[in-house]
Structures are given as C-alpha cells and as structure tokens.
Assembly symmetry: C2
Amino acid sequence: MMTSNHIDEIKKIVKSGRVLTDESDRFSYSFDGSFGTFLPDAVIQTKSTEELAQLVKLANREQIPVYPRGQSTSLSGGPLPVKGGMVFDLSVMDDLLEIHGEDLVAVVSPGILTANIHKAAEQKGLMYPPDPSSSHVSTIGGNMAENSGGPRGLKYGVTKDYVIGLEVITPEGEIIKTGGSTVKNVTGYDLTKLIVGSEGTLGIITKAVLRLIPKPQGSETIMAVFNSLIDAGSAISKILSSGILPSKMELMDKASIAAVENYEPLGLPLNAEAIILIELDGHPLALKDEVKQAADLCDSVGAREIRIPQNAEERAEIWKARKLVSPAIARIKPTKISEDATVPRSKIPQMCMRLQEIRDKYDVHLVVFGHAGDGNLHPNIICDKSDKEEMRRVEQAVAEIFTAAIELGGTLSGEHGIGLMKAPFMEMELGAIGLDMMKRIKESWDPNNIMNPGKIFPEPGQKLELS
Amino acid sequence: MMTSNHIDEIKKIVKSGRVLTDESDRFSYSFDGSFGTFLPDAVIQTKSTEELAQLVKLANREQIPVYPRGQSTSLSGGPLPVKGGMVFDLSVMDDLLEIHGEDLVAVVSPGILTANIHKAAEQKGLMYPPDPSSSHVSTIGGNMAENSGGPRGLKYGVTKDYVIGLEVITPEGEIIKTGGSTVKNVTGYDLTKLIVGSEGTLGIITKAVLRLIPKPQGSETIMAVFNSLIDAGSAISKILSSGILPSKMELMDKASIAAVENYEPLGLPLNAEAIILIELDGHPLALKDEVKQAADLCDSVGAREIRIPQNAEERAEIWKARKLVSPAIARIKPTKISEDATVPRSKIPQMCMRLQEIRDKYDVHLVVFGHAGDGNLHPNIICDKSDKEEMRRVEQAVAEIFTAAIELGGTLSGEHGIGLMKAPFMEMELGAIGLDMMKRIKESWDPNNIMNPGKIFPEPGQKLELS
C-alpha cells in the first residue's frame, strides 16, 4: 500500500516529468484492451531512464508494485495495475527513432508508435516486418513486452525475431544492456529474447535496437472465396507446400464477413463460408508468376471466386475488409473476448471444427478470423459482461478453446500474451515443472515480486472469472 | 570426484547403452575443436532420455559435473569436461528425423548431423536455413547448444531463429517441454530461446522441433575481386542498402586466398587484397535481375574482376574456395585460434583496419575471412602452442581483438559461443550487473552447478591462458 510519504519521495525523484494522483487521472490508467479495471495509486510520466531506475529502486525497497505501460491496447491485461502501486506511462518516452541504414537497424524509445517505425524504415528503403493490427496505436515497448505478431508473421516472424539489443531497468532498479547492434551474438544467455515477451515482469525496456530488412520491391494480393471452411484450409496447406511463402495469409469466416458487411458494405460475398486473403511480396518478376500459381492452387481446391486487384487502391480496399473485422464485431455486443490460441498449421481445419462445436455447445456468438497461414486463429466471443448467465457460458467456452488448442499440439497464446486471463491455464500447457522453471527466473530477478505482479503466473487456486 | 560406487550406480541405470571408463576411451572425449584437453571420469552413451534423466538426478544428488556432447567440433570449448565427471555422448541419440511437410517443421534427435536435416528437408521441397560450415560433421544438438550461425545467417538468421520447441532434461533431472510446433507462441517466458545458445549449462536437449521454410527455387553466385579491402567493404555496404538481400556474402583476405591456393590451386587471384563471394537465392526471374544489379554495384566501387559462374559445377568450385580456408590455414602451423568477434555491419572496414594493426603490433600470423555481410568476421591466428613466447603474443592479440570488437559496438562472439576461452572477457562486454543477471538464471536452475560447469561464467580472477 502506498502512503503519502511514498508520493512525496516519488515527487522528489521525478524532476523532469509528472506524477498523477488525482482519481480521474488514475482512472484513465485502470484499464486496457482486455477485461476488468484496476486503479493504480499513482501514475508517473517521465522521459528519464535514470528517474525511472530510481523509482524502481524505491519500489523495490518499499515493495510497491510497478507496471510499465504503453498505449494499453493489450488484449491480455498486460499493463493492468492489478495490485495497486505505480503505473509508469512509457508512451511519453518517445524521443528516439533513428534508422541506421548501413547497419540495417533502428534504435528506438519504447513510446514510439510501431507504425512510425514502419514509416521511418520505408523512407530509407527498409522494412520493420512485425505488423500487429494495432500498429497505428500501439507502442513498440508494448509490442516487445507481449512479443506481438501480426499477419506478416507467416513469412517474417514476430517482434522477438527483430529485437537484437535492449536497455532495461531491472526489478532492482539497475540499468543493463542486453545484446547489441549485431544480428549474430552468442555472448552468454540471450537476455534480449527472454525479456521480449516477458510481459513486463522481468524489467522495463527503455531503449531497443531493432533489425531491419530491405523493403520488398513489390506486393500483390489475392482474395479467394470458398463455400467450405475445409476447402479454404486445403488451399492454405497447398500454397504453403508449393514452395511459395506468402507474406500474409488471412482467413475470415462467415460470421466475420457478415459483421464487416453490416458495419461497412464492401461487396463481400455474404453467402460464402470463408474468404482467404493472400499477400505475396518480393521482386515484381517473381510476383507475377507466383500470383498465378497461388490463384491456380486456390482454383484447384474449389475456390468459387478469385479476385486479383489490379492497383494499390483495389488492394487497400481488400485489406480494409480484414482490418474492419475487429471494430465490426465490437459493434454487435458490448464485450469482446479476443483469443489467440494457436495450433500447428496442419491442424487448422480440425481447430475450426472444434470451434464450431464449442460455439454450438455453449451457445455463444463466436467469430473466427486470423492468421491462418501460421496457425494463429483469433476466435472472438461477442457477449455482454452485464449478463452473468451468458458470461458463465463464455467462461466455459474460453476454457474449452484453450483445451482444444493444447490437445491439437498448440498453445494458449500465439501473440497476445498470457496476462491475467490465461494465467490459470499455464500449468495445463507447461506442466508443474515447466512452469516452476519459469518462476525460478522471475524470483531470481525480482525477489520482491514488484515488477508487473499478477501476470503470467497464476495465484494458487486462480480460475478464469468473467462473470 | 567420482568413486567406483558412482560407476556401479551408473551401470545400474544405463541398461540400453554403454558406460566407458577405460583411459583410452576417456581420452577420445577429452578435447574438441578448440584448445586444451581435460579427461572425464566416465563417458555414457545411451539413446534413452529416461536413463539420461536418472543419471542427471544422480549427478545432482552427488554433485558430479556432467557435460552434454555432440561431435565436439566446438571452437570455444563447449563440451570440454573441465572439472571431470561424466560426459554424455549425445551423438548416439540419432534415431529421430521427421519432416512434417504440412506443418513446415522437422522433429529431430540431438545426435542427427545437421547436413542430414538439410537433405531430408530438401527432399520435401523445404529448407532448414542455418548452415554452419561444420554441418556435415556437427550435430544439431551441438548447433543448438552454441546457437550456430553460418553464411546464410545474413538472410536467414541463426539456429535459434529456427528452433521452436524442445524436450530438455533440467539440471535436476526433470524432463520438461518448451515451446512446441507453432511458430507463434507467447505462453510464458521463452525457455526455448534461453536454452538454445546456453552452451549446455541449463540442461540437456533430447529432442527439438525446427521450423522449415519453402526451398528457394534457384540460386546464383558472384565472385568479385578487389585491390583494396576497403573497396570490398564498400561493395558489401552498397549491396545491402540497394534493396537486395543476398543469402550469403563472404569475405576472403589476401592471406586466406594465399593459404587456399597453397593447399589446392583453384586459380584464385593471388595478388588481390580481397575477394567477396555472393550468393543470391529466390525466384529465377528475380535472380537474373538481381545478379546484374549486384555485379554492377561491385563494378561501381572498383572491383577489378567479376566472375559469374554459369552452372552448378562452376558455382560449387567457387564455394569450395571458401570452404577450404579453414583446412588450408590449419596446415600452416599446428595451432589455430579461431575467433568470431562480430561488429555492426557498417564497422567492417574499421574492424579490418584494427585487425591489421593487431597483426603487426604482436607479429602474429593473422588470417581474416568470414561472414562479412552480417559483420561476423573470423580472424584466425595460426601459431604453435609449443612455442610459449609466440603464444604469449597470441594471448595479447586475442584480448585486443575482443577489445576492438566491443569498442566498435560489437560482441565477443557471433556464433562460436563463449565456452572457456572468452569467459574472462564477459564482464568487459556485459558489465558486472549484466553478467550477474545471467548468473542468477544459472543458479536458480542449477543450484549445485553440475551442468557443464566452467563455461560462460568466469572463475574469480580467470585470465586467458594459451601459453
């Protein structure tokens, strides 16, 4: 519990920033893109790494919980201050965005919006590949904390694959550097890749070095329409085993198509069972040939319609449909439980069947879309959190989605993180010893458990509670 | 210290394998591809994970050091049994090599030779990209322990980038699974990427899931000859910032060229200061265009000759030159100290200059070649370990190579690992606190320090000793 003495001490440390303690200010920091609200005791905004490190030292000494936070688009509760204490608003730490063209790296502050890294890299003919759908509003710091993915994960991998160096404040308030500016580095344990994806439980990232690649010279899009989800799954498999590696391969089911057309009519086929959107990138001469091959493969497994847009505007229109799924389904009912259970690619058709069974069994409004090419579907349940009876069915449906993913050889979370909601299911995937090995790392780094407590690791007896 | 009681107990556990205790057998396990010999007390060969786990439990209880070992091509002392105890010969654990085409993964035992994974993947139209030069003799287990790189690291990354799931025996003899068969997985801390590259100090890998990609449809090679190392460096920079991403970009300096021509005359230009070998891969139509672009760029910065081989045999001949550098220089003198200090790409010309200064200052026989495209050079010092005076100069030269790499923003090791020889320099790169954060992980996982002790972490006061 924080006291007024703590606040006084914090105010002495924070010379170049702001300390927010009004209830209205604190309320703005009590929620994220997931479920539940938790009021912090104080919010600190500073651009100074040294001030932050001093605050962490204070927090460690006084055992005050701290929570690093970006723009709070987290879908897993990553930044929620579940045990009170201090929220560090790192979205203000946004001064540094350097592109070092010759080294093929970017050096960035954690508060930089990911879309701005995309733009800065492109201006130099380079690309930062990870493209979470939230990139125009989410910070690179948040992306690193959660190891965000995105459609281009299929060809290019996820955030972790592009972070090669970090400056980090440890849970004891020390500033360390991990990795560096070289792509190859095997000097000791890979703390960089341990910290990326650790959801802010092992330290606060205050600077990062990101690997960039040359920007592909061109891209093409294909939209294939299917009367059967299974056929759509077959098309995905056929393309992946044909030697072509698309940059994106996204799936929208019938419910997603309907939601988007209701939200903004784009001329999508309402009576189709599934749409696949494919993006290919690379050299223009190769693209021409690969687009034809991929379209022929879709045709060979029974696509009823194939659209190949002929210019950038038409391409943008097609991708708009995919981008609108999330906002469109959010309109249907007030609460959206967005999951990211992921299965081996070959299990996508089976996972789709399991999801349909779960939808019917618990009578929930389930929408399925996502990154089918890498097995990372997004089953979303649209519900109303004020309806307790419905939420109990949702709880059961969510638990069964996790079980299905693990039974099919998959994982609880592909790109959103564990956070609060999935913590009770960790042992189901990892086993007691696997989870214990993770906890040992946490305890050895953060003996007072002040760094984003309540995330990843379940409390004894913790269960999923949405009702 | 192991007793005859320990050996008896080991023999009771090992029902399906062999326990070697003869001095001649143990001697075969006392060295690797680096420096120094250390005799183990016993060597165990078994294909059974359960037996190995029981042996580790015994070792943990009795505080006996254990050392996992593949084919011992390590250039950093990774498998050396520096404190006696048990060596586990995992090269015998070679039963499993499955390619799951639809999931784009391979599932392998640690004793499989990496070249056999390459072959098995290619037979299904797929590729396992990491290609350490030792791949025809080194095991995937060893590659994972050291996070091996290779020429294709430039475009495709290193071993760690392709390992997505592991079965591991912990230092306390428990069997855990990390990650899985999905490319996206953010369920808790990334133990997979922590263990890969931890040089066998955190556990024994008994099975792995590797990510594969579609095999590129074609490849082309360019050899460019330069009268100046600086011009060669400029060519590399120009190509990397042109939008082309070669699959390999290798450098050979004058001394490497001479060594190879002495070893096996291949018609290399003996009076050139540097050769760059470039490989491009991808769609044949794109390749044709990119080869011309890359050749023109080399020409524009003053290449005196550009060779573009016209068929597979000619291409193989050119790459043979690069492959022969290591065996060729090993002929010059009996001892070869092979380093892999790595710098940001833009610092390659400066690093080349620093290496020339070090060569002259300490009057050592220094040969420079390696993966210039990703900043990972291989300065090799050719010497004679029986010449104590020479070895003292080599010690100083090696220390100064490390200093130079770190001063230029680079790292001690790009792909060989820290092992024994580089341990004394860890704090120079990481700082005391950075190193302590690594050590905390080690101690929390291996409280009795039985798992490959003496590696990565320096002993108090430890110095580089070659003389």
